[in-house]
């Protein structure tokens, strides 16, 4: 569904990504793991058009999207749950969700979709008139996921969804991601929490210094000695 081929990304002179290639097949969970600063977030920013890549191409359902603006890429069905959640703190929960539903592809079905989001995350329904900035970290993460779903995506990129959350809440978020995937959602998951993401992903890539160092089935990597030493501390 999503193919990245030979992607390079520079911030000024600093190279954040070099020759990154990967495939995200429809209906699967693909994980990108790696240490802080390995280029995981840069990869997501490049795919979503927020930081244009300097070389390489990104194809979504066979169509090149490298030259498109972020809102056009969203409207093709590539949703994103960004690192740090990035909710709108002075808008209410409901207004935050509305913002996700403004995409042309999502406008017609926004009402139904909001009901669906509230069914999925009942806490959000209880707090619909509350300002998003007053929610707990976990609730904000639910809101960020809900807001993304409002855009009717075919593929969701999760950037560090477990960051800064209590372990129980992390379980809840992962459960939500898995539930979405079981309903057919394609997922690109970027995580520092290597053990967890390798467990739930079908396929995974290890990103080191801006390049793909290894890739394989999640369960294989989980038992790979290098991965165990470098990322799991075993």
């Amino acid at each position: 569904m999503l193919s990245v081929r030979g992607l390079d990304l520079f911030y000024g002179d600093a190279q954040a990504l070099s020759q990154v290639s990967l495939e995200v097949p429809k209906g699967e969970i693909v994980a990108i793991v790696g240490a802080n600063g390995a280029g995981k977030s840069s990869l997501i920013r490049a795919i979503s058009g927020i930081e244009p890549a300097s070389a390489g191409e990104v194809l979504f359902m066979g169509k090149p999207i490298g030259k498109l603006a972020p809102h056009e890429i969203c409207d093709l069905g590539i949703g994103q749950v960004a690192e740090g959640r990035q909710v709108f703190p002075t808008l209410t929960v409901e207004e935050n969700l509305e913002m996700g539903g403004l995409l042309p592809r999502a406008r017609a079905s926004a009402r139904d979709r909001m009901a669906e989001v509230y069914r999925m995350f009942p806490q959000l329904a209880q707090r619909r008139r509350q300002l998003a900035g007053t929610l707990s970290g976990g609730e904000q993460q639910m809101l960020a996921i809900g807001r993304c779903l409002m855009g009717n995506p075919e593929l969701i990129m999760f950037d560090e969804p477990s960051l800064g959350l209590a372990p129980l809440v992390v379980q809840e978020v992962l459960h939500a991601i898995r539930a979405l995937n079981e309903k057919g959602m394609t997922v690109l998951l970027v995580e520092q929490n290597v053990a967890v993401s390798l467990k739930i992903s079908a396929h995974a890539y290890v990103l080191e210094n801006g390049g793909i160092a290894m890739s394989g089935r999640g369960s294989e990597l989980l038992h790979d000695d290098r991965v165990r030493q470098a990322y799991l501390g075993l």
Partner: protein
């Protein structure tokens, strides 16, 4: 001093202040969302005043009716200015944004000087000399109507930001730029929309102000400064703050005219600015950064 004179002066100050407030609201909204300071704000105000003068001269169009075409034209101009000229500067350092907007302001002032010369212009309607008597109070008709229009325009803007999808989306952009990109809001379009709305505010304020004062090209920089003072007194980025600041400055100017001499009015408004900066640097209704 007779109390009713004082009351009359204060009422006139409040009414003028509401028009000031609408002008400053435009500046505040643009800064609050786009994070670019419109150093050409007062110059745009004077262009709107000249537009009202021209429409009055050519078609006898009352400034209260001229509001509609002038505001529409300013909206379009503001949208185009942001989309064409300012958007490419959004990610540049502040000093280059500053130079850009100062350049726009200088072009505007000198354009007006070329077009209209340095002499003062105004419009003359019947109701400018009329007033309404309420007991012992005398309220200028033109000033009262101007204030009502300014309040109505502000209320419309508040309602737009509160209830319209585009208004909420603009607030979302101001709240979290990355968040706006991530959900696929068309940030540049929304910035241009914001600049258009801020320009429309200043256009309406200009059409009202021409009923109260004469216009010269050099009024532009003075109004830019005044708009800054108001926005800083009221609280940068706070819409209600801009209106409140406008009213306070309007009243302080009127009182200066009554108590000392009209030319001392800036002394009063800058005094107020210094007090606010000393004791409440975030502005009266501003939030702490």
């Amino acid at each position: 001093m007779p109390l009713d004179l004082l009351a009359n002066v204060i009422i006139a100050g409040v009414l003028t202040g509401l028009v000031y407030g609408l002008m400053a609201l435009g500046l505040s909204v643009i800064f609050g969302v786009v994070r670019v300071v419109n150093f050409a704000h007062g110059e745009m105000m004077t262009i709107a005043m000249y537009a009202a003068v021209l429409l009055f001269g050519a078609f006898r169009l009352d400034p209260f009716l001229a509001v509609l075409p002038v505001a529409a034209a300013f909206f379009a101009f503001g949208y185009a200015l942001q989309a064409g000229l300012i958007n490419p500067f959004i990610t540049r350092p502040e000093h280059s944004q500053f130079i850009l907007m100062v350049a726009v302001a200088i072009i505007m002032v000198n354009g007006l000087l070329i077009g209209f010369g340095p002499d003062a212009r105004n419009v003359q309607t019947d109701y400018q000399l009329e007033s309404i008597e309420i007991g012992k109070l005398l309220v200028d008709k033109a000033r009262l109507y101007a204030a009502v229009v300014a309040l109505a325009a502000s209320a419309l803007l508040f309602a737009f930001f509160r209830f319209a999808s585009a208004g909420k989306a603009i607030r979302a952009c101001a709240d979290n730029h990355l968040g706006a990109l991530v959900v696929g809001l068309r940030v540049k379009h929304l910035y241009a929309l914001t600049f258009g709305l801020g320009s429309a505010c200043v256009a309406i304020a200009g059409c009202m102000m021409i009923l109260l004062v004469d216009v010269t090209p050099n009024l532009g920089p003075a109004y830019t400064l005044l708009a800054f003072v108001i926005v800083i007194v009221g609280g940068l980025g706070s819409m209600a703050g801009a209106l409140l600041g406008g009213v306070l400055i309007g009243v302080s100017e009127a009182l200066a005219g009554l108590l000392i001499t009209p030319s001392a009015k800036s002394m009063f408004s800058f005094g107020l600015l210094i007090l606010v900066l000393l004791f409440r640097p975030q502005g009266l209704l501003g939030r702490k950064a």
